[in-house]
Symmetry: C2
Subunit: 128 residues, 2 copies
């Protein structure tokens, strides 16, 4: 697994991982990966991240069904960030039910939500 | 500056910042911002990052001239990542003289450089 060792993992053994919709070009999510997550992502062809809050592997879509099929894996010049080109199941990447997690835009000194909720999170995750 | 306080700055006072070419949709760079960098970015309309290695503000393009004009600033759902839509001066974001820092693609277990060098870094930075 020489390709895995060519990354510059940080002191916590992580790199940043961006998911971009392969069709629309929209940046969907930013998350983290450790070696195991990146290896699983490549082997399984679906995005697997490392959840820093839950301290475990997080198979994107494991609860929501909104998996990210990975079409391409890219590495940046200083080898500490990954870019995934993905096909986003359901067209929803964000836990708020929106296409992208970047649904807020800075306008005149305020963060304004610009994107519609495509599906009520209660319908995605159930009443938790 | 309430909008600045709505971010979840990490223990080092940083958030990740992605720059995306507004026209092509290509993801160009991933870097870091502290409060001062993000404030300067918004006020000046050009990307200013925090260099973790040099421990100082890094006005993108300060040496190369390859500044990033900021057209849009977005925030993700958990408020710890910024997405900039930019106009990339020179069409070159990477210090290697390539359009994007994500010029390597994983192919059959190897990182393969897929993008051409548009300008020799020696011509960008001089012989250093």
């Amino acid at each position: 697994m020489e390709w895995l060792e060519q990354l510059r993992w940080d002191e916590q053994g992580l790199v940043a991982a961006i998911a971009q919709d392969a069709r629309s070009g929209r940046v969907l999510t930013v998350a983290w990966m450790n070696r195991e997550a990146l290896k699983a992502t490549v082997e399984q062809g679906h995005a697997v991240y490392w959840s820093r809050s839950r301290k475990r592997l997080w198979r994107k879509g494991e609860e929501s069904g909104h998996v990210q099929k990975v079409l391409e894996v890219r590495l940046d010049c200083d080898a500490d960030a990954i870019l995934l080109k993905v096909e986003q199941a359901g067209g929803i990447a964000c836990h708020t039910g929106r296409e992208s997690c970047f649904f807020r835009k800075l306008e005149d000194g305020r963060w304004v939500s610009t994107d519609p909720v495509l599906k009520d999170p209660k319908l995605i995750y159930g009443d938790q």
